[in-house]
Symmetry: C2
Subunit: 364 residues, 2 copies
């Protein structure tokens, strides 16, 4: 079994990727570095190397029609959901791409046993988060899988031209519900093309690459009927767990920040997060902190410090041994994280009513 | 592989059942004989032992709310499609059941590669046949799978609580498209229950029994969420191929009658059909014909001679050695089959326009 799954990156599981380099060889994704200098105003994830790879992103940039992603409505937005959402918003603002956002409630049932009703409630919060982060609803389409006939239909048709062996190769040995979730996700990704927007970009974490490979393959298998182009993707690194593990664990809330966390909960999580500090303050003054190993620095770099100059200051005071971790954490929490979370939570509260209407299909 | 599939009756394949008795033991279906005398006016299939078994038909008779079946839109109505249609119409007329009829266009794609567009065209003819046979459209609901969101959604949810091993046990080793077709069919069968009609009867051929077992199982696995009752079924014997084989072959049109066959084509098929005749006319006069082995007699019994007295005459002149097969065939074709086919084709032609509207969802 272990042998068989050697090359499987598991989007449904908890597998961890600490070394991204092998992905280039094994799966034929390309480095972002050759594309990045074609972009006038690269977003935070692009200019900081967090988006590290892509497929056909260069082609997409020539005609940036649609950007597509979604969420499994199984909880509140965490920093990973925020990352994807912000990428969509960037592509919408910077390139005028229409955003498609799927509430993957059928996958939430298949994978986590969350009922469609419960999924709908989670989705209201998720969509409010998306709006609070700045999505322009006038150039977006948000839908629940369970209500999207054309996607469900397409996914059943896909089942005709993919073998169980192929799915097993991509996802490991799974049950029907999970394999179907993958096909539905392919339908989601290709659905902008049903509206005539043939150039679709999907921002993903590296663990989601099997979905993109499957979807690109299916797009070509149904090219004759639907005229699909292969969707492009841009691939970001994971944001680590607050304790420094490679991936946060849903079972342990202290490993991740939720955008909905209260000030006291968030402060506690941040103050206990792993840093790049040395054994003693004396040693740290001498050698400097290891900012690039520090989750606090990563919080700034990925999420809360958009200003490059300010990020550089935080980095320098650390590696220069000028600030103890405790003081740095407090400063980062009070001046970077807390203001952002407060502002987000306010905007989110104001968006809830409209979000409910959108989720219920009463407006889009 | 052969071992593994011992108990598989294959609804997607061409397996043949010549001995029905083992089904009672293996699959726990019940004989129709104990139920039949509770029915005041049994239909042709019931009173002639063509409907030979059931599950919960007795329960259904206490509250006969809905009768459900469908067709894979892959060609014209043959005598098998006619049989199912007439059963539905009987349950509608005699018991007031609302008829649900599914155009299984997704299955036609998964199983036969027929596009949804082509399936729609076939469906127009199929629905016209159904109307010509006497379905009361005021108490019926006809839909295409590819347009029925609630069924497609339900089938994906079903995927969560059935294993690939269970499906393999029921259907043999198949690919995803076929397994999904089975789940969609379960959704079809349970869809009347979504309308509050909890007592559903499905008339089936014995090869379709795996679908019923799967559906009954799923109904109980989703009982908490949907309050499903187990659907009932009534099981008919196959009508044989015209050459006497146990099952007609789609690859060889001379083995079956289509309701749309021209007079000359139909006559040719009937005149070449297998009879229960003896080696010589002399022998036949002495021993009598074997009516119960004769496809011509079966055509009368199953399909074209509703009058029991007339059927008895046809049987007696045969077993009494009073008529050569050639003359009998001619008589049966001219006086039983041809008038019925002509009348059907006229009614069908008049129904086509309305059928198209129904298939296109413009009226139901």
């Amino acid at each position: 079994m272990a042998e068989e799954r050697k090359n499987v990156i598991d989007p449904f599981g908890t597998s961890v990727i600490s070394d991204y380099s092998h992905l280039f060889e094994e799966f034929g994704i390309q480095s972002i570095s050759t594309v990045i200098n074609k972009i006038t105003r690269p977003g935070r994830y692009l200019r900081r190397g967090i988006d590290f790879a892509h497929r056909d992103f260069d082609k997409w940039l020539k005609k940036p029609e649609a950007a597509m992603s979604g969420i499994k409505p199984s909880g509140e937005f965490h920093l990973g959901s925020k990352m994807t959402a912000e990428e969509l918003i960037y592509f919408q603002k910077e390139f005028g791409a229409k955003v498609y956002y799927c509430i993957a409630d059928i996958e939430a049932f298949a994978d986590n046993g969350i009922s469609l009703e419960d999924g709908r409630e989670f989705a209201v919060g998720n969509v409010a988060d998306l709006m609070a982060l700045g999505l322009d609803m006038d150039n977006a389409y948000i839908y629940r899988q369970s209500e999207e006939l054309r996607v469900l239909r397409l996914a059943y048709l896909f089942g005709k031209r993919v073998t169980l062996n192929t799915l097993k190769g991509l996802y490991g040995p799974r049950e029907l519900g999970l394999y179907n979730s993958a096909l539905i996700q392919s339908g989601d990704i290709l659905s902008p093309e049903l509206d005539g927007l043939k150039n679709v970009l999907v921002p993903i974490g590296a663990d989601q690459d099997p979905h993109i490979r499957l979807t690109r393959d299916l797009s070509q298998k149904f090219k004759e009927e639907y005229g699909f182009l292969e969707p492009a993707c841009i691939i970001h690194k994971f944001f680590r767990a607050l304790n420094g593990d490679s991936k946060m664990s849903k079972r342990d809330p202290s490993t991740y920040l939720l955008l909905s966390d209260s000030e006291s909960v968030a402060r506690k999580k941040v103050m206990s997060a792993m840093t790049g500090g040395r054994a003693t303050w004396g040693e740290q003054q001498k050698l400097g902190g290891e900012a690039d190993k520090c989750v606090i620095y990563e919080l700034c770099k990925f999420h809360f410090t958009d200003d490059d100059k300010r990020l550089k200051e935080i980095h320098e005071r650390c590696v220069g041994g000028k600030i103890p971790c405790g003081s740095c954490k407090k400063d980062v929490f009070d001046n970077e994280i807390l203001p952002a979370m407060r502002s987000h939570q306010e905007k989110r509260a104001q968006s809830l009513e409209k979000a409910r209407k959108i989720v219920d299909g009463k407006t889009t």
